[in-house]
Amino acid sequence: MLIRLIVPGEIARVEDLNTSLEAVLTRHGVDAGVRGDVRLIVEELASNAIEYGGGDGVDVGQHELSVDIGMDGDLLTLRFRDQGAPFDPLSAQTPDLEADILDRPIGGLGLYLIRQIAESMHYERIDDCNLLRVSLRVPTPENQR
């Protein structure tokens, strides 16, 4: 594991999370494209957990978000844990991308973006937490040829 970060579940802390992750990834020579993907995944998952994680009548302010990131060969894996209401992002509905712009609902895009960008995703509910593992393929001189 390269790093584990734990922050309070507040929108203002999401940027701290991403700033720290970006610094670590840069130090490990991860290219800007993958860093952008990581930033996107963390922002979408964190803001989702903060906005919707409360469920009915649960105080969202009590939440903690934890992200750890590891590299195994050319696979970078993010493990995202939140203490919110049970939610499997893999079960979320796919937005209708063919619909006319005027008919499209605003929203529902964040999880779809992650599903498209990720190499693989895995969801588990463990110890009253949502645990989502997201893997990304990191370009290396070998796999780019």
Partner: protein, 129 residues
């Protein structure tokens, strides 16, 4: 890093706005507020110059959707110019904007707007005759 929003002087019935930095969950409301006065019925086109924009998330995409929806109601358009790699990737994935409304340069967008305007002018003349 935050979002810089430059509202440039309108030209040719078109409003240009240059964005730099990050358009995300922390900054999209600033853009919504800045664009709101521009999204009126007389506005035919809004050109968003994204050359300085480094990052966009779904929150930013929603802001562009909102602007498109507001202008689209009376046939107006939102054109995107100079998207960097991360932004182009996100636009592609969510099909936020038809490909023919994304331009690699302001010159290209201008040519498109000129052609649109000529079409409108020709239409007006036809009605006069």
């Amino acid at each position: 890093m935050s979002l810089q929003i430059d509202i440039l002087p309108p030209a040719n019935g078109s409003q240009r706005v240059a964005l730099a930095g990050r358009l995300d969950t922390h900054t999209y409301e600033d853009l919504d507020v800045a664009l709101a006065p521009l999204l009126h019925r007389q506005q035919q086109s809004l050109v968003l110059d994204l050359a300085g924009l480094e990052y966009i998330s779904s929150a930013g995409i929603r802001s562009i959707f909102k602007a498109r929806k507001a202008l689209g109601g009376h046939g107006g358009k939102v054109l995107l110019v100079n998207p960097q790699a991360q932004i182009q990737k996100v636009l592609d994935v969510v099909k936020a904007v038809p490909m023919h409304e994304i331009f690699v340069s302001t010159a290209e967008a201008d040519a498109y707007l000129d052609a649109m305007q000529r079409k409108v002018l020709r239409g007006d003349q036809d009605e006069d005759e």
